[in-house]
Amino acid sequence: MAKMNMVQALNLALAQEMEKDDRVILLGEDIGKDGGVFRVTEGLLEKFGPERVLDTPLAESAIAGCSIGMAIYGLKPVSEMQFSGFSYFAFHQMEAHASRMRNRSGGRYTVPMVLRAPYGGGVRALEHHSESREIYWAHTPGLKMVIPSTPRLARALLVSAIRDPDPVVFYEPKAVYRAFREEVPEEEETFPIGKSRVARQGSDITLISYGASLMATLEAASQLSEKDGVECEVIDLLSLSPMDDELFTQSVQKTGRAVVVHEAHATYGAGAEIIARVVEKALLYLEAPIVRATGFDIAIPLYQREKYYLPTVERIQRSVRQTLAF
């Protein structure tokens, strides 16, 4: 087992799946010689050649559309959107075709593709490079939407996404890319899409988060334990669609309180759906309103203001204390 950061773990997943399955093909801008602007595809062109690692012209809609065609033909394209902020150029392709082909062909054609995209703030990036708009995809039936939080999970989830028979939008938290290392086993590992996990056990309150925000959430949980003696149970959502509402509902039934943490805008964000599910399935267990510690309803600002926009460790703790004090 080697210690890897998330970039390396993703690279491992791609390399191994390409080795194992010659249907796996990569497409994207600068993913070849350059190895991707974040180096996730580093070395893969050299290893697998230009037939399997396509440096594409600058056109996101065609990248998605070609991937759809390839997938229908029987390949397993993994295409990269250089930043999630530009994936909306391909939105209509994913909405109208990737998500529906199985359904509209009565199951005759399927689109087992993965659309990878780095997302989120926290790395001093340019405008349009830090969005967290996973809901656009998660609200679209026929697509799956996954966001890993650690290197090991990223590797396992990407392997699962590639093997999934349906199109998966795979957002990679840039802020985690090189934030820390984790043991990642050389041997095959998968993680079921549609399942969440308990990232920390606790009994006083449930924190539900995903992606880059999980780091701040875990840090808040550990500070709350130290400073306030409050034990937070932290749920790492992982799959935004399909959503695993069982795990967090069970946790809330145990703790009676919850805070949702994500960097996406609050309004119509994932938090809303999480709250709705808890209300539907466990209203009577709720001892306080579920608070949303999330990004605000403004485009994420340039990097000097990001720290005020993103749900910080402080904001999460505040929200927990507020919920506990209710």
Partner: protein, 361 residues
Amino acid sequence: MPIQQIDLAYRVKYLSILDQEGKVDQALDPALPEELLLKLYRGMVLGRSFDERMLILQRQGKLGTFAPVKGQEAQIGAAAALEPQDWIIPSFRETPVEIWRGKPMESVLLYYSGYSECEPLPEGLNLLPVSVPVGSQMSHAVGIGLGMKYRGQKAVAATFFGDGATSQGDFHEAMNFAAVYRAPVIFICQNNQWAISLPRKRQTNSATLAQKALAYDMEGIQVDGNDVLAVYRAVREAADRGRAGGGPTLIELITYRLSMHTTADDPQKYRSEEEVAQWQSKDPITRFEKYLTNKGLLGQQDIPLIAQDIKAQISQAEQRWEQITQKALDPLDMFENTYAQMPPALLDQRQMLKRELEESL
């Protein structure tokens, strides 16, 4: 030297083989076997008859909105020029092509009568479903073409679209990708002069659509789209080129939509009857009929016989369609095929509808 001319010497070819009188240009005649000529004729007549029948069914309320194909039946020349291993990626005005390729007429009727997913296409047709969002299907053809290339398959992907579709960004992106990768793709533009109410001239400023190929240094050709032999030949050449690694081709078929855009449209609002009448004289079926008659392949008595035969074929399809729809299809089917496996929330929703339906019995 300061002002240089980079001479691209670009010319757009215009191909036509069969004139309005049914006279053929011997030098260009693809010299198809008689059997195929008759099959082409039948295909076009079937296209026309089925279209007319669908219009009646639509007016009776038995079908929803659909896009009539009348006047554009020579499109089957394209389907005939392709091999079964070639893929067809249609738009929404290619019903004759789809039927030629093997799509059952009852599937067409099921789709336009609002039953969607109940009957999957026969296996192995290499034919994608109708694509409604204009221009969006072309990049799928490029992906399929790249797949063929990757697998070393000697085949092409042919995609159909209208003149209006050339304005979409997706058209440009697909053309560019295909040219960059020399993908075996045939872009078949059915320039039927109208995109709903917008005439071709106001859709784009270029003299031809074929010349748009120059933007990608791609082969481009204009073809008399009401001439089934010219359509056949142009597509065959493009397919040969694609298979031989020569890359993509843009084919502009000059044709005309004689009927309404869709059954929800009233073309009298935006175009003159004279224009329609002019094009009526270029009817692709009449022309081909004359040619076959002159050639002695079609006797005067054959024409009504073929028409009757086709009517019978259509009414058999209608019967199968009615049988399927009377099977009391289970509405719960609609939850199938969104994913390979239904996620829990969807199972719950299905369960809820099931209960609703049971209670309402």
